[in-house]
């Protein structure tokens, strides 16, 4: 008797789960009804919510002493906000590669500027601004490693570390189909895993690898970029006006030299990196 009751309850829960998932896939229709809602709100409330990285050196990192976020992405976010609405204040929300798209679509943040590569798949889900950072995927290995490029890893038994939610995992499978790819939750864990011998190389965007190599003298970046994957600002598809405004802001910054100034500020001192390659 009791078993029957519990079984019934369980089925009920499952049914509820299926129902909710059906509802969750349909908010697209609701959003198109309120076009450019975010842009109008920014103009009205003078705040713009940015999703930024908090764990990526040079791009977006929480300064432990001041508790403030710092990096190229952060400075870009501040500069773009000022150009969209001079009175507006940027609000910065820390996101991860895994949570950023759902948070944008849920309306928790207005735009993402968080080392996000422009890809055709992502373009189906969100709108992108024009590229603001010329990134590409590279490899990091231990200093004593013999690996020189991605070709050295295309054999059985090679293990390549990556981070969940970033497209570098799918990419590296194309360049080294024979290697085993291991995905970890974040860059700090992935770097620790590399150091403790869980993989032969760590792959992700060059910007992130250089950021890690600045502080860590046991590792080195090798082989240069094997892909071209520029970063863009991601915006909800329901807000084309916001995308346009961001593009205009980036164009203005490139024209008046303030963009070059930011790139130089962050990337001039990185060993083995020419800051101009970022702006190409």
């Amino acid at each position: 008797m009791q078993i029957k009751k519990v079984a019934g309850l369980t089925l009920g829960f499952l049914a509820a789960g299926l129902f909710v998932s059906g509802v969750a896939t349909s908010p697209v229709q609701a959003e198109t009804a309120a076009k450019n809602q975010t842009y109008d709100r920014i103009k009205k409330t003078h705040t713009m919510n940015w999703g930024v990285k908090g764990d990526t050196k040079l791009m977006g990192l929480t300064n432990i002493r001041t508790g403030k976020l710092e990096g190229f992405d952060i400075d870009m976010a501040k500069a773009i906000t000022k150009r969209i609405d001079p009175k507006a204040k940027p609000e910065l929300t820390q996101i991860t590669s895994g949570t950023r798209v759902p948070m944008l679509l849920n309306g928790n943040i207005d735009a993402i500027i968080a080392t996000m590569t422009i890809t055709p798949e992502r373009k189906k889900v969100v709108d992108f601004s024009e590229p603001y950072f010329n990134a590409g995927q590279a490899l990091m290995v231990m200093k004593k490693s013999d690996v020189k490029s991605i070709k050295d890893l295309n054999h059985k038994g090679a293990r390549i570390l990556g981070v969940q939610g970033s497209n570098s995992i799918e990419n590296v499978k194309k360049f080294a189909p024979k290697a085993k790819v291991v995905a970890l939750p974040d860059y700090a864990t992935a770097l620790t895993a590399l150091e403790s011998g869980q993989g032969d190389a760590l792959t992700t965007d060059n910007s992130i690898l250089y950021g890690m190599a600045v502080d860590n003298h046991n590792v080195k970046v090798v082989g240069g970029n094997f892909t071209t994957e520029p970063y863009g600002v991601a915006v909800d598809k329901a807000d084309p006006k916001l995308t346009k405004a961001i593009n205009k802001a980036i164009d203005e910054m490139k024209a008046d030299g303030s963009y070059d100034k930011l790139a130089k500020k962050w990337f001039n001192d990185v060993p083995g990196m020419n800051w101009k390659e970022v702006t190409e």
Binding site: I3, T10, L14, G17, L18, V20, S21, A24, T25, S97, G98, V101, P102, V125, Q164, G165, I169, E170, V182, A183, L184, P185, T189, T192, A193, E195, S196, G197, Q198
Partner: protein, 212 residues
């Protein structure tokens, strides 16, 4: 959701397989270890009691994720452990501390007259345990032990953090590939229920049977 399941069926079943394998290894390992540490705590030897106590209190009071990460990044520098192995070891040690406590409580709740009677009839300490106390204790600890096993299966999702290829890891990968953040986790929840519900019911059945 059904198309999500069919298009990623191989990933889901791979994850299901690794979850089952990890759970079975950890279940056997933690039961043996747990029984051992429970006995360590009650043998008439002060030193053994202290060793057992320290192990249980330390392991039981550290988060499972910390134990697992310890094996994944610290121990791996010496021994070459991958994510699956370190996750399974973490799971085994963590669960064994709880099982030891459960079994010890069961042994303690057997009336002391049973043990004293056995000893006064000429049985050694080990014989008294083996033939008189433990058979009674096992009956008492089956229901709470069942709970520990269900917890163990659920806790196996910790493997996802160290790339252990289990169900949760596959769900993370699929949701980030498809941008569907809901479907993969619902499917994975159903997979976990397939494992845990029958176990819960079986434990309840055993409980009813031993009650009689």
């Amino acid at each position: 959701m059904w198309t999500l399941f069919t298009s990623h069926a191989s990933e889901f079943f791979t994850g299901f397989g690794w979850t089952i394998l990890s759970s079975v290894i950890a279940l056997i390992g933690s039961t043996i270890l747990g029984l051992g540490f429970a006995l360590l705590q009650i043998v008439p030897n002060r030193f053994a009691n202290i060793v057992g106590k320290i192990y249980i209190e330390v392991v039981r009071n550290i988060p499972l994720l910390v134990i697992t990460m310890f094996f994944y990044v610290v121990v791996a520098k010496v021994l070459n452990l991958n994510g699956f192995v370190s996750g399974t070891i973490g799971l085994t040690l963590y669960t064994s501390a709880f099982i030891a406590e459960t079994i010890r409580a069961g042994i303690n709740s057997v009336d002391s007259g049973q043990y004293e009677g056995a000893r006064s009839n000429g049985l050694s300490w080990w014989q008294a345990m083996r033939y008189v106390v433990l058979p009674q204790a096992i009956r008492l600890v089956i229901p709470p032990l069942g709970n520990q096993f269900v917890n163990l299966i659920k806790n196996s999702s910790v493997l996802a953090f160290v790339a252990g290829l289990d169900l949760m890891y596959q769900a993370n990968m699929i949701s980030q590939l498809t941008f569907d953040t809901f479907g993969p986790y619902i499917i994975v929840a159903i997979f976990y229920l397939i494992l845990t519900l029958p176990l819960s019911y079986y434990m309840r059945y055993l409980e009813n049977k031993t009650d009689r």
